[in-house]
């Protein structure tokens, strides 16, 4: 846990004096924050307008009345219950499998002795440097040759396969936080390797798992390329793919599209706000010298 340095809330905010220059910074950052919020305001504003208002009045004008009908249309066009559920299932199962696999793989790599284990680590890490986006063509070919396309397990398999590199790398960097003495003690007590992992190591890796799960969940949730290639049957589509089809050529329904954006961003934002602490820990791991 030393990785995260001193705790944020306790020190710096209170320790630094609030001077004129701090006030100037405060003003500048307020302007920056407003600029960052502006596109979000536009989305919300559009999502409540009628089509006619959209074309006939200024884009910055607030709607005359809130058009909840846009949201109804968005829910229907997105097929929200299905697409939301799909995205959730793919994300949840993929990250849990990733946590399980990456933890055990990284641990075995760091504890095994010999050239093979060193090689394994490099082998996995190559995957971080090659993003799957660069390989989408053959990934797609393999998908349909192995009958993985248009199946739930197929897309989950791909998310796991493409996420494993980063996971192993991340978990590996946490292995030094697990004291070897504990493992040795367990072994003397007669624990098998597998049992040692689940009884001793697994519970000690809690922060690492939280990090891994959050970072991967957030990528898988927003993925477009793999999802668009792998799952296109009506009952299997994800939220991002469904939304993209609302934007495509000849679409005329921007008010609905904007409402759909609000609907799709809302759940992940709520999740972020409620788990903010984990998110931030997860993303900043490694940025700080331990």
């Amino acid at each position: 846990m030393a990785k995260f340095g001193r705790s944020k809330q306790s020190e710096d905010i209170t320790s630094k004096p609030y001077t004129m220059s701090t006030f100037a910074v405060q003003v500048v950052m307020t302007v920056v924050a407003l600029v960052f919020l502006f596109p979000l305001f536009v989305i919300l504003n559009y999502s409540f307008k009628t089509k006619k208002e959209l074309y006939l009045t200024s884009p910055l004008k607030l709607p005359d009345s809130l058009q909840w009908a846009n949201y109804e249309a968005a829910l229907k066009k997105l097929n929200l219950t299905t697409t939301f559920t799909n995205t959730f299932i793919y994300t949840a199962i993929s990250v849990l499998l990733l946590a399980l696999l990456c933890g055990v793989t990284a641990w075995a790599i760091s504890r095994g002795k010999g050239k093979f284990f060193k090689f394994s680590f490099v082998y996995f890490v190559i995957g971080i440097l090659i993003p799957f986006q660069a390989l989408f063509l053959p990934i797609y070919t393999i998908g349909y040759k192995m009958h993985l396309t248009n199946t739930r397990y197929g897309i989950i398999f791909m998310y796991v396969a493409t996420g494993i590199s980063f996971g192993v790398f991340l978990m590996n960097s946490f292995m030094s936080t697990v004291p070897l003495e504990l493992e040795e003690a367990a072994r003397i007590d007669g624990c098998s390797v597998v049992k040692t992992y689940f009884v001793i190591v697994f519970p000690l890796l809690k922060p690492a798992f939280a990090t891994l799960i959050i970072m991967q969940a957030f990528q898988i949730w927003n993925d477009y390329l793999l999802a668009s290639l792998y799952v296109s049957k009506k009952g299997l589509k994800t939220l991002t793919v469904a939304i993209q089809s609302l934007f495509s050529a000849q679409a005329s329904d921007y008010t609905t599209a904007m409402a759909a954006i609000v609907v799709s961003v809302l759940p992940i934002s709520i999740l972020f706000l409620s788990l903010q602490k984990y998110f931030i820990k997860g993303m900043t791991v490694g940025a700080v010298k331990g």
């Binding site: 949840a92 797609y140 050529a249």
Partner: protein, 453 residues
């Protein structure tokens, strides 16, 4: 503890989502309810229409066991939603047949999906555009469509989907393409519908003098450039040389040397010089809205604009005419759109025929679909009920035989990999990135991708 809470949360959420996942598929059931009233009215006329010979084939599976057919549909955005209408109509007549839909964007994932299925076996039914029939029938992948169903469609529908005397597609509806014009504005300024380039130029000059934008356009969408270029090619190239595309591949003609093809390309420049200065930042809906508001006089487009026009102002009065060519004998462009194809190797031919029976026989469904997509029906005796101010013009051109099927051009010069890429070059030329000669040379260099075979 926190980890426990998190995993507990994830697990319970997963369980819940699994449950609702099953509920999700129940949606289909709910959708059947409204079907009842549409299909009830349909049943009578559809049944009456059927000749005894046709009824036989599907009969086999009417009372048969449950069948699920897979359907791959490549749709334009304006088509999205017709799958629910078809489901509803089918559920009424053949409740034992369920369609498992895979709807993709025709511009985007449709062809990749077809490539994928060529390796692993085609879905039972494929819904694409008429130009796809040529691409896939030539690979021997498609099944012949029974004449019983084809006979319910217009004869014109068969022409470009028939090869060696066998028809592989049931063409369902059609679009019209040409120059949409603001009728009120034309009347106020005393402009007549132009038939020659000189007459068109006169209108453009008058527009410019009066501060009216001659053409509405939205070149941010590269597809729209590709679309209008094929319209120009039809009336300036293919009208004189119907096999221009084949000659192109044989090396007899080329863009660099063919005057007519260059003229067709250069019309894009004419439009670019006489349109919104910010056309490369203007999207279709904004473009159409500005035309409806009287900013622009004309727009080279297709039926897909109608919905936009009427959404913004239901009383907007517009007509359509073909973009004038050099010889002054342009024809209105007609594009067979949705085409239903079947797999040559389906295991459920009877059930597939039942679906074809509903699609070709259910006139109530046909009206519902053409009204929804703002298109013309390719079935006999089906008349749309939506308002289309340009219908009178279409009827007039049809009566004079001045209509041409763009499938001719699209079959010879494919969209994906050729027309689409050429359009990007034309855009680059209009932007001043490359010269006109480079643009033509790039199209010539792409000859290898000009055909799907």
């Amino acid at each position: 503890m926190k980890k426990k809470a998190l995993s507990l949360f994830l697990c319970s959420a997963m369980t819940v989502s699994m449950l609702t996942g099953c509920g999700g598929s129940g949606d289909g059931g709910a959708a059947e309810a409204p079907a009842a009233d549409t299909a009830q009215d349909t049943e009578a006329p559809a049944a009456a229409e059927e000749e005894p010979a046709e009824a036989e084939a599907p009969a086999a599976s009417t009372d048969g066991e449950e069948v699920t057919l897979t359907v791959l549909a490549g749709q334009s955005t304006t088509d999205a939603g017709i799958e629910d209408m078809i489901d509803a109509a089918l559920a009424e007549k053949y409740p034992n047949i369920t369609l498992e839909w895979e709807c993709t964007g025709w511009d985007g994932e449709f062809h990749p999906k077809m490539q994928q299925y060529m390796q692993s076996g085609l879905p039972d039914i494929i819904i694409g555009k008429a130009q796809d029939v040529n691409t896939y029938a030539s690979q021997g992948l498609l099944g012949e469509i029974d004449a019983a169903y084809l006979d319910r469609g217009l004869d014109a529908a068969r022409e470009n989907v028939t090869f060696d005397g066998k028809t592989y597609g049931l063409v369902y509806n059609a679009l019209y393409q040409g120059v949409y014009y603001n009728k009120t504005m034309f009347a106020e300024n005393g402009w007549e519908v132009p038939t020659t380039q000189e007459e068109l130029q006169a209108i453009i000059d008058d527009c410019n003098a009066k501060g009216i934008v001659p053409f509405a356009s939205h070149m941010v969408d590269t597809w729209s450039i590709g679309n209008v270029t094929m319209q120009f090619m039809m009336n300036d190239v293919f009208n004189n040389t119907p096999d221009w595309g084949d000659q192109f591949r044989e090396g007899k003609v080329s863009f660099a040397e063919d005057q007519a093809a260059q003229t067709a390309y250069s019309y894009n420049k004419l439009i670019f010089d006489n349109t919104y200065p910010e056309t490369f930042s203007t999207e279709q809906t904004d473009c159409d809205a500005r035309m409806v508001l009287g900013e622009a006089a004309m727009k080279v487009s297709g039926s897909w604009s109608i919905q936009n026009f009427l959404d913004i102002d239901e009383s907007f009065d517009f007509g359509i005419f073909p973009f004038p060519n050099q010889t002054g004998d342009s024809k209105l462009i007609f594009e067979p759109n949705i085409a239903i194809m079947t797999s040559a190797e389906t295991e459920h031919q009877d059930a597939v025929n039942c679906v074809l029976d509903v699609l070709s026989g259910d006139k109530e469904l046909a009206v519902e679909i053409v009204d929804f997509t703002k298109t013309a029906s390719m079935l006999k005796d089906v008349t749309p009920t939506y308002t289309n101010p340009s219908q009178a013009d279409i009827d007039a051109y049809a009566a004079k035989g001045m209509i041409v099927d763009v499938t001719l051009g699209n079959n010879q010069l494919v969209w994906g990999g050729f027309q689409e890429e050429n359009a990007a070059d034309i855009a680059a030329y209009l932007q001043g990135d490359i010269s006109f000669e480079d643009c033509l040379a790039a199209s010539d260099a792409r000859v290898g991708s000009s055909s799907a075979q």
